[in-house]
């Protein structure tokens, strides 16, 4: 087992700093945001800017987790497509969002509603959208709470009252079909949010908005957003679009860089085969799709980037995946999971590839990825007609959009992997170059079992830099929720069938489980209220990946509601 003593000491010091600077009506606390561990609060989507999804609390631990029981529950209205968000906690208040961007502020100890907010959305537009009406999270800063909407707005609410402070229209969603489902990120006075869109003609903008006034300060086009990038789309093919930064990235204060992942280009699949640089619907590398990019949060200017999959022909976004900021051997690194099932390790100062390793077994879209350069070796570029053998992983990815966790206490990275492939036929379609409410795929397909066994999932505990595996737990169906690690030597995994599991973080031994009654598709957190530690788990099934489970696995998914949800909060029995 690997321990990193320095990290433990650093974590404790930062935790103390976070505790002593708490004030009742504060904005976000920079020390808490920059800490390795989320302590009393869960201040930002990924826990802290370090993106560990790790709680430094240890009241609940491997020794007493067997006494964990439901403390309170909350049921959101209109939970269409379940619950897919990660709650935040601040000063003993829990905040979370549900479908239609409804937001709730609840007493963290009792669940009593402090306020609730329901924006009026363009329901006619919602009816036309594929990736809708779910919401995946919120941000807090400057005394406000921020939430995006599927009709293209970013809304600020007063944190104490829930009253709207400003409501800014950022996207013409009627035109481009997509809006915002991902959580915003607060960096200093700026609120940063990325648009949806991999299958659409939009240019995937990421926006910087003044947190006080709601005024748009900058907009970065992830599709052909720079002169260099424009040259990587043959002819006018940049108009086919894609590239949405649909999940939140994070912030590295040491380099003043916002790290963000971008989606695939459209159409998802093309027929150009090995000639992809010169032919097909979008010839060229298609920058900055399927890339990790570093932006200046003050100006929105691109500082540096790495395109994980040049000319992504397989729909393997870089939008999924947290940015885990770690140090190893004197080097400052960031670890990022790509939908293809590969984990990329970068130098944090310039996005230079330090290592690449596969999390999943069933990968055949490339033979390998050079761990020193990130170059794709043995690309499998598709041509019109049947794809044989089936493509691995399937469209649902080797890695889905919810996050893993990292424990600075034992140095292990906990990540869900998915093993499945896809029979497909590539169709030469007419590229869609004008915005319209129509997906742009370029193939028909069917998810199938991989060659080495049934379609399945696993949680593995690994060294985040080398990928060396310490332990693994297998699941009949891939869990689709985020993972939580805690200083109590625990790893929590909310699974697809509705069971939330707690494992020993060092060994993978299951120590506790409870049935929440419906599948999990959201983020699990821990926080403190009234001196007591709680674990909050949104339950509620219905993401687009979850939709695949009926055909793949039958029951219980065939009978599982996709229009309900509950926030279930656990605490130790008194």
């Amino acid at each position: 087992m690997i321990f990193y003593g320095r990290s433990v000491v650093g974590c404790a010091a930062l935790a103390v700093a976070a505790l002593v600077t708490v004030s009742p009506a504060r904005a976000q606390n920079p020390a808490a945001l920059n800490a390795e561990a989320a302590m009393n609060d869960w201040p930002t989507y990924h826990g802290t800017y370090k993106s560990y999804h790790y709680s430094g609390l240890d009241q609940i631990n491997a020794g007493n987790v067997k006494n964990l029981e439901v403390a309170w529950m909350h049921f959101p209205e209109r939970a269409t497509r379940g619950l897919q968000s990660t709650p935040l906690a601040l000063d003993g208040v829990l905040y979370y969002s549900g479908s239609y961007s409804r937001v709730y502020a609840l007493d963290g100890a009792t669940g009593k509603t402090i306020w609730a907010y329901a924006p009026e959305l363009d329901e006619e537009l919602v009816a036309k959208q594929t990736h809708s009406p779910y919401n995946r999270g919120i941000a807090i800063g400057g005394g406000n709470l921020y939430v995006g909407t599927v009709d293209g707005r970013l809304i600020a609410l007063d944190l104490k009252s829930g009253k709207p402070v400003w409501d800014t229209k950022l996207l013409d969603s009627k035109k481009v079909t997509v809006g915002f489902t991902g959580a915003p990120l607060v960096v200093k006075d700026m609120v940063i949010i990325g648009a949806q869109g991999g299958e659409w003609t939009g240019r995937g903008p990421i926006f910087g908005v003044d947190g006080k006034t709601g005024q748009k300060k900058w907009e970065f086009f992830t599709v052909a957003g720079t002169e260099e990038a424009m040259k990587t789309w043959g002819g006018d093919s940049w108009r086919t679009g894609g590239g949405g930064g649909w999940m939140p990235g994070t912030y590295d204060p040491e380099t003043n860089s916002v790290w963000w992942g971008t989606a695939n280009p459209a159409p998802l699949y093309d027929w150009s085969g090995a000639d992809w640089k010169k032919s097909g619907p979008r010839p060229g590398d298609n920058l900055h799709t399927t890339s990790v990019i570093a932006l200046d949060p003050d100006t929105g200017k691109l500082k540096f980037y790495h395109q994980e999959l040049p000319h992504d022909a397989w729909d393997f976004d870089s939008s999924v995946g947290e940015f885990v900021m770690i140090e190893r051997g004197g080097k400052k690194l960031v670890v990022h999971a790509n939908k293809s099932g590969y984990i990329f390790v970068y130098d944090r100062s310039n996005a230079k590839v330090e290592n690449v390793w596969p999390l999943v077994k069933n990968i055949n879209f490339v033979k390998s990825i050079d761990p020193k350069t990130g170059e794709l070796i043995g690309r499998r570029d598709l041509v019109e007609g049947k794809v044989d053998p089936p493509l691995c992983p399937a469209i649902a990815g080797g890695i889905s959009w919810n996050s893993g966790a990292y424990s600075p206490k034992n140095g292990l990275f906990y990540r869900i992997g998915q093993e499945w492939c896809m029979e497909m036929t590539v169709e030469k379609t007419t590229p869609i170059t004008e915005p319209m409410a129509q997906l742009n795929l370029g193939a028909t397909f069917k998810i199938v079992a991989p060659p080495d066994g049934p379609a399945r999932g696993h949680l593995s505990a690994r060294d985040p830099v080398t990928g060396a595996k310490k332990w693994e737990v297998n699941y009949k169906q891939p869990p689709l929720a985020s993972v939580l690690a805690t200083a109590g030597n625990l790893v929590f995994v909310p699974d697809a069938e509705g069971i939330v599991h707690a494992y020993n973080a060092d060994t993978g031994e299951e120590l506790w489980s409870r049935n929440n009654g419906m599948g999990h598709n959201a983020g699990i957190i821990s926080y403190m209220a009234g001196g007591k530690q709680y674990v909050a788990v949104p339950a509620g099934w219905g993401s687009l990946v979850a939709d695949e489970f009926v055909a793949l696995y039958g029951e219980p998914f065939k009978s599982m509601s996709k229009n309900t949800g509950a926030l279930i909060v656990y605490a130790l029995r008194q």
Partner: protein, 112 residues
């Protein structure tokens, strides 16, 4: 141009099959004034519908299997147009009536 749905459906439906569609691509019906893309139901399906209805509609995925569907034509057309919130987008303002009929014809022509 939008096609008077029921009239066109009544006229062309008995004749529509995948083979017939291919022929009509070269000789579109005068009253439809549809472009070749409009009546390429299979290509439209691969562009948009296949995201949920897998294997070209022959297999359930995010959405149900469509080949050999027992749903009526009216039901399928209504569902394509109006969708179902949280499950299927409404395509009534995206596809013309002629395109929707072409997609329906493609679905009806599917083998298992």
């Amino acid at each position: 141009m939008r096609i008077p749905l029921l009239i066109v459906a009544a006229i062309i439906w008995p004749f529509l099959s995948t083979a017939a569609l291919a022929q009509q691509a070269a000789n579109p019906l005068p009253q439809a004034e549809a472009s070749p893309d409009d009546i390429e139901g299979g290509k439209m399906f691969a562009t948009t519908c296949g995201f949920c209805h897998q294997e070209g509609g022959r297999h359930a995925g995010r959405g149900p299997k469509l080949s050999k569907s027992e749903r009526s034509d009216e039901y399928l057309i209504e569902r394509i147009k109006k969708g179902k919130v949280g499950a299927m987008p409404a395509y009534g303002s995206v596809f013309s009536d002629g395109q929707i009929i072409a997609i329906l014809a493609y679905i009806r022509g599917l083998d298992d």
